[in-house]
């Protein structure tokens, strides 16, 4: 089994030209990627990190390319991250925010796809509230499509940036134990992460109250826990998830207070993980709901680095999918 390459010992020299052509047309789901493709994307992202850290944050391999960010639900972080990524690579980036579902305006997603396709973009980055919507759209356009989150299905670039962050901190990914905690049932981040970490031979745990665990999750994660302390025992990585406020107040859980008491990450619960465990969160955080502010800002937190790696990963994905170098 191939090992994930450790960035500290095998950092690619630069973003230009060291990578073979990427075989996928779109990035819709981690499930579509083979292990070597995941590692390839992580290596490409690693090579992009210095670009964002240098004074002149530009690596214009996508000059002349058009990127449309089509967001059917608001997402400041992901949309901004994709926008910066595209611009740093020299692409013309256009943001389209569709406040409500296009269907409510009498226009189907297919119509929207056809309209956008006529504008001849090179890549469309899509966020949609419905699982599978991005895939549906990808079937109707001629350009590359990147899934920036579709319902409770997947968020592949989030999983990639999480993996990159882990690899940079731990020097490896394979063989680690990662606990994902919180609203497992409604999280797209979970699905992408379980698929990606599973492909890289990571031991995965999910921890949540039983009613936030979806059916069959035991087939996707290595272990399932409903007790936070037991679930965090000896883990290398603690990945917290955002609790949607509408699920509190008696709907799915009795109260935020009770949730924090049993499932919020505080110092005591974190002490069950390995001493050098890192703490992650896809953001935006509910401080005092799923995570103690002191931990969010503490020495084990890599949350801000996740944001930075998000830009690198998105640059890597755009660069891999847009055939700047591998045009036939």
């Amino acid at each position: 089994m191939a090992q994930a390459r450790a960035s500290k010992t095998n950092t690619p020299a630069g973003p230009s030209g060291d990578f073979p052509p990427f075989s996928q047309k779109h990035l819709l789901s981690i499930a579509d990627l083979k292990q070597h493709e995941i590692i390839d994307l992580l290596d490409r992202a690693e090579a992009m990190v210095p670009v964002s850290r240098q004074e002149r944050k530009s690596h214009p391999t996508l000059t002349g390319k058009t990127q449309i960010n089509l967001f059917f639900e608001p997402s400041t972080r992901t949309q901004g991250s994709f926008e910066i990524a595209g611009k740093r690579l020299g692409a013309l980036v256009m943001n389209m925010s569709v406040k409500s579902s296009s269907v409510s305006k009498g226009e189907t997603l297919i119509d929207t796809a056809a309209t956008l396709n006529a504008m001849r973009p090179d890549v469309i980055v899509v966020r949609h509230s419905a699982a599978g919507a991005v895939e549906l759209l990808s079937q109707k356009v001629g350009c590359a499509v990147i899934n920036a989150g579709d319902g409770a299905h997947e968020h592949p670039t989030q999983a990639l940036l999480d993996a990159l962050t882990i690899r940079r901190h731990k020097g490896r990914i394979s063989g680690l134990t990662v606990a994902i905690c919180g609203d497992i049932a409604n999280s797209r981040v979970v699905r992408s992460n379980l698929l990606l970490l599973g492909a890289l031979n990571v031991r995965t745990r999910v921890i949540a109250p039983r009613n936030l665990l979806p059916a069959g999750i035991e087939h996707l994660a290595t272990e399932v826990f409903t007790d936070m302390r037991r679930g965090l025992e000896g883990v290398d990585v603690v990945m917290m998830l955002r609790l949607q406020h509408e699920r509190a107040n008696g709907r799915m859980i009795p109260s935020v207070r009770e949730y924090y008491r049993f499932y919020g990450l505080d110092t005591e619960k974190l002490s069950h993980a390995k001493p050098d465990a890192i703490v992650m969160h896809p953001g935006p955080m509910n401080r005092g709901v799923e995570i103690d502010p002191a931990i969010a800002d503490g020495v084990q937190s890599v949350i801000n680095e996740q944001v930075e790696m998000g830009v690198a990963v998105r640059m890597a994905v755009l660069d891999a999918l847009l055939p700047a170098r591998n045009e036939e």
């Binding site: 699982a131 319902g151 409770a152």
Partner: protein, 431 residues
């Protein structure tokens, strides 16, 4: 007067009389006049003779669950286009669900539909009357007047009555008229915003699941109410193993309860959804393969009484959407028989049992004279080739909508001739 019709050299398969033998049938004045098994048959000089060598002669199919677009959404389906599709599929009578605009909750509309169907449809259209006004699940309709106008049963179609008290009243009152209450069992508070079977596959797709208990809990309630009220009760379409167990137990105590299954739940499972294929988004949802096998066993052992198409025409606008936002439903009139014959060809269920579920059992439940090859019965008949191979092609679909779950499917078994009241309404044209 039309000329007598003789169908000879056929393999006659009639579940009502448990006949499976070579023979001939003579049709006069729209009814079956004579049946000859093996021996000779008296043939009037002017009879039209059909040599049915190699074909099966069976009663025309009775489909207990068909949605139409007319009235209100004729662009999806009219009574005429549904009739054309039915005739091509060997369905000589279908029960039309009341989920139209306006809702069929009034005797006058039933009367209109019957006359409209006679004028435009090739097959018998049997309107069902709504149980509640506007299908809102609040107030009962006029069961007696609906029956007088010609409604063959009572149902709220794809809607499920949530109030136990109302359902008790409905069943008690329907018993006055001997009308069968056909109920789609679904606890909407459990269904929630679920869009497919609850389980690992839904979790992988990130789609909200519908637990089996959304079906079994109201089914258990309904079966108790049916026993309490003594009404004739038909669970419209059940889909999972636990429902089969409930039905089997209830049938031991109460002969007036029956159950139907959609051909979709017999022929397909949740994995057919694949990567969000909305033609497989159905209500009741496709269940697991274990459930499908349990339903097949239920059909084999008599727990399941009827198979229907659940024909539900939906246009492109509402189907070509993200899975969770797409409408439920698939068409099925033209593929009902051939899809059901898959069970015969696979050896899971014998031909007699499969045909019974689409002929004599629905006729019994609805109190129809058709659905059998008997002297004096309406000459609603089909001739089909049990092994004829064909592939479902969107181009050849007669329905106005194209949302078939069997697009591209290779099927064996084709209706060669459909006869309604002694008149040929469809013949299969060889390519």
């Amino acid at each position: 007067m039309t000329r007598p019709l003789l169908i000879e050299n056929a393999r006659i398969v009639d579940p009502a009389s448990h006949t499976d033998a070579k023979g001939a049938v003579l049709v006069e004045n729209g009814v079956i006049a004579h049946i000859a098994i093996g021996g000779p048959i008296g043939v009037p000089d002017d009879a039209v003779v059909i040599n049915a060598k190699g074909l099966i002669l069976a009663p025309g199919l009775i489909d207990m669950r068909v949605f139409t677009g007319e009235p209100g959404k004729e662009y999806r389906e009219t009574l005429q286009s549904a009739g054309d599709a039915a005739a091509a599929g060997g369905v000589t009578s279908f029960v039309m669900m009341p989920d139209t605009a306006p809702v069929v909750d009034d005797g006058a509309l039933v009367d209109f539909l019957i006359r409209r169907a006679k004028a435009t449809s090739k097959v018998n259209v049997l309107p069902a009357g709504a149980i509640t006004k506007g299908l809102a699940g609040q107030e009962m309709t006029e069961f007696g007047l609906l029956q007088e106008a010609g409604a063959v049963c009572l149902t709220d179609g794809r809607h499920s009555i949530q109030s136990t008290a109302l359902l008790r009243t409905v069943m008690s009152y329907a018993a006055n008229y001997g009308m069968t209450v056909v109920h789609h069992v679904s606890d909407t508070s459990l269904t929630g915003d679920g869009v497919m079977n609850e389980g690992l596959f839904a979790t992988i797709l990130g789609l909200k699941g519908i637990p089996r208990e959304a079906e079994t809990i109201p089914l258990a309630r309904d079966l108790q109410l049916a026993a309490l009220t003594g009404t004739r009760y038909h669970a419209a379409q059940i889909s999972c193993a636990a429902s089969i167990e409930l039905m089997a137990a209830a049938k031991k105590r109460n002969p007036h309860v029956t159950a139907g299954v959609s051909i979709n739940n017999l022929a397909l499972n949740e994995n057919d959804i694949g990567r969000y294929r909305t033609f497989f988004k159905l209500s009741t949802p496709l269940r697991s393969e274990d459930d499908r096998q349990a339903v097949i066993e239920g059909l084999r052992n008599g727990t399941i009484d009827t198979i229907h198409s659940d024909h539900d025409p939906q246009d492109t606008e509402v189907k070509r959407q993200p899975f969770a936002e797409a409408s439920d439903g698939a068409i099925g009139l033209e593929t009902l028989l051939a899809a059901a014959l898959r069970l015969v060809h696979s050896g899971d269920v014998d031909l007699m049992t499969v045909l019974r579920a689409m002929t004599s059992r629905p006729a019994d439940i609805l109190g129809l004279a058709s659905g059998r090859i008997a002297i004096g019965a309406p000459a609603d008949l089909i001739l089909f080739d049990l092994d004829y191979p064909w592939q479902v092609s969107e181009r050849e679909i007669r329905s106005r909508s194209r949302n078939t779950s069997f697009e591209g499917a290779r099927l064996a078994g084709k209706v060669m001739r459909t006869i309604v009241a002694g008149q040929t309404v469809h013949t299969h044209a060889e390519d």
